[in-house]
């Protein structure tokens, strides 16, 4: 098979399947880490990294809270919107403070209108399709919807 493609193909972007593979637990189920020494919780996960609070190197996997509160909202309607989202534009984005104190920047999904979401609203995590990569593969990951 590879003999049919004698020229090396170089992709000039950040995407690779290895990249996605390494981050799958965080992206699919909000798996973070907690320092076994001081208890600080982190997302993105810091597996194998040093705790900035106590400088121990003792991270354990930690399941982040799956729900929280919107503390800031913005529309992806200025400049250059990310490609691959089809008719799901303009996307509504939020900073969410999870119930365990971790903060995330996320897409809000399944809104009938952008104004439906307000600061202070309760939201919960869902796993959804996000967009197509330029390989044609679908990107899956966490998003948030309003608790109704």
């Amino acid at each position: 098979m590879s003999s049919e493609f004698t020229d090396m193909f170089v992709r000039l972007d950040t995407f690779s399947s290895a990249y996605w593979y390494r981050t799958r637990a965080g992206r699919y189920r909000l798996e973070g880490t907690r320092c076994a020494n001081c208890g600080e919780k982190f997302f993105p996960p810091r597996s194998g990294l040093i705790c900035p609070a106590c400088h121990a190197r003792a991270m354990q996997l930690y399941q982040c809270a799956q729900s929280g509160e919107i503390i800031c909202l913005a529309l992806d309607d200025v400049g250059f919107p990310a490609v691959g989202y089809g008719d799901a534009m303009p996307r509504v984005q939020a900073i969410v403070r999870l119930d365990d104190g971790i903060h995330l920047m996320v897409d809000l999904m399944e809104l009938s209108d952008p104004s439906e979401a307000q600061i202070g609203d309760r939201v919960k995590m869902v796993l959804r399709k996000h967009r197509r990569e330029d390989t044609g593969a679908w990107v899956y990951g966490y998003g948030f919807v309003l608790e109704r």
């Binding site: 000039l12 972007d13 950040t14 995407f15 990249y19 996605w20 390494r22 981050t23 965080g26 992206r27 001081c38 600080e40 982190f42 997302f43 993105p44 705790c51 900035p52 609070a53 503390i71 800031c72 909202l73 913005a74 529309l75 992806d76 309607d77 200025v78 400049g79 250059f80 919107p81 990310a82 691959g84 989202y85 996307r91 984005q93 900073i95 403070r97 104190g101 971790i102 903060h103 995330l104 920047m105 996320v106 897409d107 600061i119 996000h130 967009r131 990107v139 990951g141 966490y142």
Partner: protein
């Protein structure tokens, strides 16, 4: 902090004008400013001990640019320190240059940067800059989205009116019409009321304009030899600091200097300013002029707060009371700022502020000249304020 063996002085600099020829390569851009800066200061290439150079790592294909830069500049076999840390990376290059001189290892060091972002599709190359790529960027949250979120959060937390942002952009444009190096120098002056409108068009006009390909260079030497090159040398000091790159970690990060702050403040810049002021022997009340790297008006105001010119959340009052103008105690963005000088990324976002303050101290700024300035401060950032840099210049000669 270790012992500083001698002060560092700036004796020259250069920047490419807007709209450079399309066929210039990044090598040609780098040579243009390197050559012009040395020529103006009367420094021979053989006198240069070291070059520190910032570049956009995703906008050139060269994975090891050090020897290529050294070759292009004709300084071989002397070293080049290549630095790729987004827009404010030249602050780090200048930090490298400063250390080389303050330690006594080098006498003449050039700090420079270049951005040739149209080598590739600009937004594809740049969109991930400033994001924690594993999570936010890979989930479709881009550089632009970060800005929108930060501005929305700052406006909400400190009740900042559109009028303040419009005034900011207006003043930047006013100065730009008096600076031939600004991208908007020869464009029609915008109307203040239109800049203050609550429309997507006005929002766009309040943000930075693109400068395209750009390069700039600054020459630093030891205090003991500065008067050999100019009768108006300028003291230069620089400091920088980081904060975590993931936007969620701007909240409640478990480090003492960051825990009290969130998306609406720049604790990295606060730390850097504290160090820079200590080295320079100044306080925030000594500052006569400020240039900030502002891709939006709101982050310009946030920078004024972080450097101690205004209380946290109060920069809107400074701006709305005329604080940016030449009549104020400390004019802001006399070079034109992001909205009107233009975003030069790795090529000039730090250097443009240093160069403006350098030329202001030397009295070379014409209709935008600040009256008798003695201390100038400039700020810049990369990776959405995960890197914040501050430069301090002071008059280094007696009248």
């Amino acid at each position: 902090m270790g012992k500083i063996l001698r002060r560092v002085m700036m004796v020259g600099g250069a920047i490419t004008p807007p709209r450079i020829p399309m066929d210039w390569t990044w090598r040609q851009m780098a040579c243009e400013v390197f050559w012009n800066a040395l020529q103006e200061a009367g420094i021979a290439i053989k006198e240069v001990d070291l070059v520190a150079c910032n570049y956009n790592d995703r906008a050139i294909v060269d994975s090891s640019p050090g020897p290529q830069i050294a070759d292009a500049l004709g300084i071989l076999p002397k070293p080049v320190v290549p630095i790729a840390n987004a827009c404010a990376g030249n602050g780090i290059a200048s930090y490298v240059a400063w250390n080389a001189i303050a330690s006594g290892r080098c006498d003449v060091v050039v700090s420079m940067g270049f951005a040739r972002s149209d080598n590739y599709d600009a937004m594809e190359a740049m969109n991930s800059q400033g994001n924690y790529v594993d999570y936010d960027y890979m989930m479709g949250l881009t550089h632009i989205n970060y800005s929108s979120m930060r501005d929305a959060y700052y406006r909400g937390k400190y009740d900042v009116p559109l009028q303040a942002a419009g005034e900011w952009a207006y003043r930047c444009n006013w100065y730009a019409r008096r600076n031939p190096l600004a991208a908007n120098y020869d464009k029609p002056m915008p109307v203040l009321e239109e800049l203050c409108a609550d429309t997507p068009e006005a929002d766009r006009d309040r943000q930075a304009t693109n400068r395209g390909g750009v390069a700039s260079a600054m020459i630093f030497v030891g205090e003991d030899i500065a008067h050999k090159y100019t009768d108006k040398p300028v003291y230069f000091d620089v400091a920088y600091a980081f904060r975590p790159p993931y936007i969620g970690n701007f909240f409640n990060y478990p480090v003492e200097s960051m825990r009290p702050y969130d998306l609406a403040e720049f604790p990295g810049l606060m730390s850097a300013a504290q160090e820079a002021y200590e080295i320079a022997g100044i306080g925030s009340k000594d500052i006569n002029m400020v240039q900030v790297h502002d891709l939006t008006a709101y982050e310009g105001m946030m920078a004024l707060e972080a450097i101690g010119l205004c209380e946290i959340g109060k920069a809107k009052e400074y701006v709305l009371s005329g604080g940016m103008t030449l009549d104020s105690r400390c004019p802001i963005n006399t070079y034109g700022g992001g909205p009107a000088f233009g975003h030069g990324s790795a090529g000039s976002d730090f250097q443009a502020g240093v160069l403006e303050n350098f030329w202001q101290l030397q009295g070379r700024c014409g209709d935008r000249q600040v009256q008798n300035p003695k201390v100038g401060v400039n700020t810049s950032y990369g990776t959405h304020h995960s890197l914040d840099v501050i430069g301090v210049v002071q008059k280094g000669w007696q009248e």
